[in-house]
């Protein structure tokens, strides 16, 4: 086990999530991609804590913050999807591009 391998795992998860966020049309599938990206952040934060600074608790606190961010992202994402679907029967990003510059 070394820090580099853990960081490589985190980078792989982050990139897979990024692919999903960029390519998926459905709003809920974009949220799946975001979750996967945050999963990569969790692995990286845990690995940095374990290998570089185990005596500082901040690494663990970052994991807690990311876990809370995942829960909030999920709740707000579904609330926004529900609101936009109720208002306009839209469930895909391609149909909600009024604000596109």
């Amino acid at each position: 086990m070394s820090l580099q391998w853990f960081l490589l795992l985190a980078a792989a998860l982050f990139s897979i999530g990024l692919y999903g966020v960029l390519s998926q049309q459905s709003i809920v599938m974009i949220m799946m991609g975001l979750e996967l990206m945050l999963g990569g952040v969790i692995v990286a934060a845990g690995a940095f804590w374990h290998f570089l600074a185990p005596t500082a608790a901040a690494g663990q606190v970052i994991v807690v913050v990311v876990v809370v961010a995942m829960a909030m992202e999920m709740a707000m994402g579904f609330a926004v999807t529900t609101a936009i679907f109720r208002a306009r029967e839209v469930d895909m990003t391609d149909q909600a591009r009024e604000l596109k510059g």
Binding site: M1, L3, Q4, W5, F6, L7, L9, A11, A12, L13, F14, S15, I16, G17, L18, Y19, G20, L22, S23, Q24, Q25, S26, I27, V28, M29, M32, G33, E35, L36, G39, I42, V43, G46, A47, H50, L52, A53, P54, T55, A57, A58, Q60, V61, V63, V64, V65, V67, V68, M70, M72, M74, M76, F78, A79, V80, T81, T82, F85, D91, M92
Partner: protein, 187 residues
Amino acid sequence: MDVVVFWVLALLAVASGILVFRLSSMARVTYALLGSFLFIGGELILLGLNYLGVVVILMMVMEMVIMAVFMIAYMMNPAGLMPMSMVHNRRGALAISGVVFAALAAGIAAVPLPAPAATRPPDPTLQLGESLMGGQMLTMMTLGFALLATMVAATVLSTGRGRYDRFGDDLERRIPNDPVPGGVGRR
């Protein structure tokens, strides 16, 4: 032993992550993401973060089971019975994420990382708890308020007809303006 466990968990986590965007059934997609997070939780336990690993596993099991309901409700192809494309700009997305992964991997290989720490805390869970109830108290309070704001905002956003729709902007209407009249004590 640890190296073998790391590789097994890492390959399974990445494989389930890829499956999330390869499967066409929404239920299977949700459980693939759940699988990925179970393996991520396993990696955390491998790193000595027993408490956080278990928290991630338990939270993700509940979150994904709830999410499966919404996924099936909001997908255009819930059962995955008809093969169909649900992506746009696939090539661009693949290129961007490939470049990002290559850049991150190059950074990981090129940057001289410090030597591993020699001293370890006796109990990481105690360390986290003392930190959250001590030096990181402000972080914990901010997270609490953010979660409360999320609950309120999610409820407001997902409410179809609230009391302002029924009783007017000043809440002064005595008889609510409902699409279907009636109910106990109403005319």
